[in-house]
């Protein structure tokens, strides 16, 4: 087993208990998604005031909600197309909130360089999701590129807990640019194959 696989398996133990509790209480998954966004906004506020460890703790709680909503929906047999759409839209709100929190913090500190780094990272993080969503409306699958939402979230937590947010922003920014490029290239290649004259 790989070490990231082992970490994932270890995290599943407490999450399994939380999923079972939500299923037993029949909590609607769309509500779980929404609560996750509210926690992410709270984490953004903590980032904005420079309380990184607090932000990290709130992000963990937020992402528990984010992680379990789909699984609760499956176990309650109430998966809907709207649920998937709602989840994706709320994910974007959560993502953007965290970046805005950091933009506010760096603006307060008078660091326009890091305001720009954060803003560009935010732009490419959103574009990473958009390119895949748009690509998958014209090709069956576009799962290429490293920097997806789970990676971003874990990196944000690492940056918050270890106070290395600048390095994290550089990683998110650069790898998001590469991921967007990957998806554009992959879609172009797939469509070229499909649309090639017979």
């Amino acid at each position: 087993m790989t070490f990231t696989g082992a970490i994932g398996a270890a995290c599943m133990f407490p999450l399994r208990a939380i999923i079972n509790l939500c299923v037993a209480l029949r909590i609607h998954p769309n509500l779980l998604t929404f609560i996750g966004v509210l926690f992410n906004v709270a984490a953004a506020v903590a980032l904005a005031v420079g309380r990184f460890v607090t932000a990290g703790v709130i992000m963990i709680v937020a992402n528990i909600f984010d992680f379990i909503d789909g699984k609760v929906a499956r176990e309650l047999h109430i998966e809907t197309a709207f649920g998937g759409f709602w989840d994706s839209v709320m994910d974007r709100f959560s993502d953007i909130s965290l970046f805005i929190g950091l933009i506010y913090l760096y603006a307060q500190l008078g660091r326009t360089d890091y305001v720009m780094v954060t803003a560009l990272s935010m732009m490419f993080a959103v574009m990473t999701s958009y390119t895949r969503a748009r690509a998958e409306s014209i090709i069956p699958k576009c799962k290429v590129g490293f920097m997806e939402r789970p990676e971003r979230i874990v990196l944000f937590m690492i940056g918050a807990f270890t106070n290395r947010m600048a390095a994290v922003l550089w990683v998110i920014g650069v790898l998001s640019v590469v991921s967007v490029a990957d998806r554009i290239f992959y879609t172009w290649r797939e469509l070229r194959t499909v649309e090639a004259p017979q």
Binding site: A166, V171, Y186
Partner: protein, 65 residues
């Protein structure tokens, strides 16, 4: 020889044009590389507005000096 010479280019291409799943050894390697960058790079090199402490590389360089 040609294959050996092309290997670094192939590695760079595969790292950039990422198609691997999570929980593969390639994914682990990428994660280790990222964590090394985040934790080892001295915050001063990046002009980190909030970080405290020198970071491992800076600490080693200071010890050597």
């Amino acid at each position: 020889v040609k294959r050996l010479l092309l290997m670094p280019a192939v590695v760079v291409w595969n790292a950039l044009f990422w198609t691997y799943e999570r929980a593969t050894w390639q994914y682990d390697l990428m994660v280790i590389t990222i964590l090394a960058f985040v934790w080892l790079t001295p915050p001063g090199w990046l002009g980190d507005p909030t970080a405290s402490g020198p970071g491992l590389i800076q600490w080693i360089l200071e010890k050597i000096r």
